[in-house]
């Protein structure tokens, strides 16, 4: 599921069948690569207190689960400071990768699988922090420490291919670069 599609989703209290509000924003725990809550007006609900994002609505068993923000992550999400959409992405070693078009996540668990940057994407596992200035992600070398080349952007793969002097790199697709480097 995409972040942008989740916004505006109805939040329903199944004990009264009343609509409590709508998903106005979501709370990201970048270090866990997960969405951990939803913002409804000035209040929040923990992801674990919902069934995740249902196909038509978010359901809670009880309206009392919608509460004041407590943690720093929740407070920043309510203020809008940590909204990742349209934010620039910067690696921890100071390279800008582009800006965020959307975020792909598991609607049940909230785990972020991919961060979409225009026509490219990086793995959600690279997320380190989301702030008002930028979204910070792991460096190329740390992201590929376990051999996960698909977590990189095409331009990062191209730079790696250049460093290893791989022939024909300038005409390769992202998949071809991954195959050549793997």
């Amino acid at each position: 599921m995409r972040w942008r599609n989740a916004l505006g989703r109805e939040v329903v209290d199944i004990s009264t069948a009343e609509t409590i509000g709508h998903v106005d924003a979501m709370v990201v725990d970048a270090s866990a690569s997960s969405i951990v809550g939803m913002v409804i007006g000035n209040q929040v609900v923990s992801w674990s207190d919902t069934g995740g994002i249902g196909s038509d609505a978010v359901t809670v068993v009880n309206a009392d689960l919608i509460r004041e923000p407590k943690s720093d992550l929740e407070l920043r999400a309510v203020e809008g400071a940590s909204d990742p959409i349209s934010k620039r992405v910067i690696t921890e070693d100071g390279f800008a990768l582009g800006s965020i078009a959307d975020i792909e996540f598991d609607p049940e668990s909230g785990t972020i699988s991919r961060v979409i940057l225009g026509d490219d994407h990086i793995a959600g596992s690279r997320l380190m922090g989301t702030g008002s200035f930028a979204v910070v992600v792991r460096s190329t070398d740390r992201s590929t420490a376990d051999g996960d080349l698909a977590s990189l952007t095409k331009s990062e793969l191209y730079e790696m291919a250049k460093a290893s002097d791989i022939d024909g790199r300038s005409t390769m697709s992202k998949d071809e670069l991954i195959a050549a480097l793997g």
């Binding site: 070693d93 390279f95 702030g131 200035f133 910070v136 730079e159």
Partner: protein, 188 residues
Amino acid sequence: MTSLLRATTLIGRPVVTLDGESPLEIKDVVFNTTSGEILGFTLRKHGILGSPASEVLRWSAVHGLGPDAVVVADVESLSDDAEDSLGDGGDVLGNRIMTESGTDLGEVVEVVVATGRHAEVVGFEVEAAGGSRSADDHHVFIPLLDTLAISGKKIIVPDAATDFIRDDLSGFGSAVAEFRSTLSGKAN
């Protein structure tokens, strides 16, 4: 990713914390005038007219550094200038580079930094001494070693450094690596 950049291109770059905030940006680069290394950065509020900040960023507190940002762990990584001054630092730009045997190679116009998680100064961009190369304003790149003499006016490099001078930044990275392995080979 490691690439080379000129130290002064960091001026105006945002200082970004790992949680994605940017309290300040780089105002100036402060060098250790006796080693040629970077001591740290003075900071300012965002924008070319941003007022100077009282905090400074010491080199040791840099998490990672690249062409688009200087990354720090958090705001605690910035130190208060009053207690933790970069006062001993200065500029190495304008120094003349001379070989051990007394050849003047020119004047330092830029310091070259290797980016990444373990960023470091790797050499100097020098405006070649008149007549030694083709044009008067010819710029070349000279590798820096860990141990060299700097007086505040002159930087002395081993004669061997002249073999690794490059005309452009793109070929300079490998020249630095070669130069260092040559020197460590000699020491053994």
